[in-house]
Symmetry: C2
Subunit: 392 residues, 2 copies
DNA sequence: ACACCTAAGTAAACTGTTTCAACAGGTTGC
DNA sequence: GCAACCTGTTGAAACAGTTTACTTAGGTGT
């Protein structure tokens, strides 16, 4: 690459003292080494340390106990007496000793790390939807003593079986899969629950996978009820990615609710908006070109709704007087736009946090399947009004 | 918390075979164990494995070589003969053996993990600015065989010295610090370059820290030159966070350029927009209230510029005919707004990627300080025009 | 007075890899 | 004919912890 620095693991030789420990111990009886020997003498907390990093062995030597005892002190094992515990703990504090997590994980059962798997979209990280989920995940993980690793499910990643490899090579204890859909066949490798994985904000019927989702059906129902109540009958749907189960839920709810109101939706009322602003604008255009009498547009996410608003603004159509627009997500941004967007609030932060917690439980032996559904609610703002021609 | 599952590390007892290896070897000469013994017999690739995870020892035993040899095969050590290399490699493939990364890192020098440190903002992950940086970081890290860990510099995190601890406990090889400012005193712990850290898209004069930044001064110069060329003289600045060096660079450039054009900026022309849409809107309002004759607003980031646009729209002011607006960042969103935002393009993806690469070099022994400045350029779109009263 | 029990602590095995020092066995130099 | 070198391989130490099985000392029960 652009650097000529060696990046191989077999780099720079590290000096290995040949069986030095046992000899020095033999030279003077065990524990006769004076305490002032090392960092103990410094009174101040060892910020930056004296260079050498202390190991459990060092602590044990200075405390005149075995490494097993130090380990047990660290893990609050009740077999250790109050006095020894205090003695060792004090030394730990004084030396600024911190257990090496690699050694702990190697020896123990857990890595205390989770992977967040993002779709291979170029701008997945710059997306407010994923950001909300990740925010919830990171907060909860931190509280539970876990670290979070970022992964992207690129074609190569899956082809190389890396989704399995991060477990086999003991990188992580579990995976939180965001933004996945029916085409992500690699997910079926987790259907047997051999390695813990939780699908976040989507679910699958074809594979038996753990999941934590928002209640998209109920959200869509609230939107449709509300629009129908406002007198809308010719309602367009800007949906997306039919390979996503929750998107299909929205579409099905839309159809069912229209049917329930005695309306047969025209084929032209539904258009794919590809989850983007541009797509949403284009979809709005298509729908209104095919049927200019449509009085409301229901978008499958806020981004597409904003795109639609944008298109309508360009066409000088008055939202909400001429046409109503509803989104889905309730991103921060949605409230801060003209007109402020009526939308379905998804508890994405909570979904992320809960998924994280359940995943950790799973990794620690929880047997029952995880299948949680969190409630959504409608945020009525300024982009919706009575259908034109209906008196309030 | 909400779960009663044990989360301690000292969980479930794992059976330990007592010195079984040496005994079984004694029972029959070394290497006389039949090959069909374990997974070797299966012809198909071991997707999912046979349950037991294979270690290097297992591979060595079946290949009738030492673990040292297997290790050298894995690391392509030239001291291993072609024949042995092939024999061992074939077995590795057949068994689906994957080296344990914890053991590798424990034994070796590097963890092959970097931390991305984000500010403690509730919505840091949902931010397009950070998203771009992280996207660049993750891509480059992946290409260089590194994993990326997410951290948030919350007050507790720093108070507990966790920014040091992630090194001491061998979680990571280095830190990429995003969104930091002069108040982040914890950064000075890295001034001595004891542990590798690179400040991303900001820099410090008070602490000697590695950094990779966009050229904010040059970006601001381009904006000011352009606005002055269009005839603007009464230019408002919506800036933010003066504890950020690059923000001060923008402010200083703004003042210098105005002075160069013989303009003394009124005190009321500069207002803090707090990097948010809401703040940008409020700042625009303040500036225009104090001096309604201002003909252009220059915002320190796109979010604030969008907020300003929004405010101007609400006030029915015509952008760009009545007033011009310029942003800074060039987020995807900026191009997709009415009117499309004229802004300074920051190569955030590239900054992230380069910072990542330099950090890895640093972790691997690079001695020279990292201080890179990437060029920016003006994206002229629809939100700017000749100043009112100036003929084109 | 002896077996039995408990509490507190320890030695050693174990996790899975890297790397060094040593070592056979074969060439080559002189 | 033997010292010197080279090649390929190995045993074991090292990394830094956890956990098990054992030991020792002291206290009870009968």
């Amino acid at each position: 690459m652009t650097s000529d620095i060696e990046l191989t693991r077999s780099a720079g030789r590290r000096p290995r003292r040949a069986a030095a420990r046992s000899h020095s111990a033999a030279a003077s009886g065990p524990g006769t080494i004076p305490l002032a020997d090392s960092a103990v003498a410094t009174a101040a907390p060892p910020v930056g340390g004296d260079g050498k990093k202390v190991s459990m062995r060092e602590v044990a030597r200075l405390a005149k106990v075995s490494v097993a005892t130090v380990s047990m002190v660290l893990n609050d094992n009740p077999r250790i007496s109050r006095a020894t515990h205090m003695k060792v703990q004090r030394l730990i504090d004084r030396l600024g000793y911190r257990p090496n997590r690699l050694a702990q994980s190697l020896s123990g059962r857990y890595t205390q790390v989770l992977a967040v798997m993002l779709p291979a979209l170029r701008h997945a990280f710059a997306d407010a939807y994923f950001g909300e989920l990740i925010s919830g995940i990171c907060d909860r993980a931190g509280k539970m003593g876990y670290k979070v690793m970022l992964e992207q499910a690129k074609p190569d990643f899956v082809k190389d079986r890396q989704h399995i490899e991060i477990f086999e090579r003991r990188y992580v204890d579990g995976i939180l899969a965001l933004g996945c859909n029916d085409r992500h066949a690699w997910l079926k490798d987790f259907a047997d629950a051999k390695y813990p994985l939780i699908v976040v904000d989507n679910y699958f019927n074809q594979w038996n996978l753990d999941h934590v989702v928002c209640d998209y059906r109920s959200g869509a129902e609230q939107v449709m009820n509300y629009l129908l109540q406002l007198g809308h009958r010719r309602i367009g749907l800007i949906n997306a990615a039919q390979e996503i189960r929750t998107s299909r839920d929205v579409l099905e709810t839309y159809r069912a609710k229209l049917a329930g109101a005695g309306v047969t939706p025209a084929a032209g009322w539904v258009e794919d908006g590809k989850f983007t602003e541009e797509g949403g604008a284009r979809a709005a255009e298509m729908i209104l070109e095919r049927d200019p009498s449509v009085t409301a547009l229901f978008a499958g996410n806020d981004k597409m709704a904003l795109g639609a608003l944008h298109y309508l603004d360009r066409r000088n159509m008055d939202v909400p007087r001429q046409i109503s627009v509803v989104g889905f997500d309730d991103l921060r941004h949605a409230a801060f736009v003209t007109p402020a967007l009526t939308t379905v609030h998804l508890p994405l932060y909570e979904v992320g946090a809960l998924a994280c917690e359940r995943l950790i439980e799973r990794a620690h032996g929880r047997a029952e399947k995880v299948a949680e559904k969190l409630p959504t609610h409608l945020m009525v703002r300024e982009s919706t009004a009575m259908a034109a021609g209906v008196s309030g």
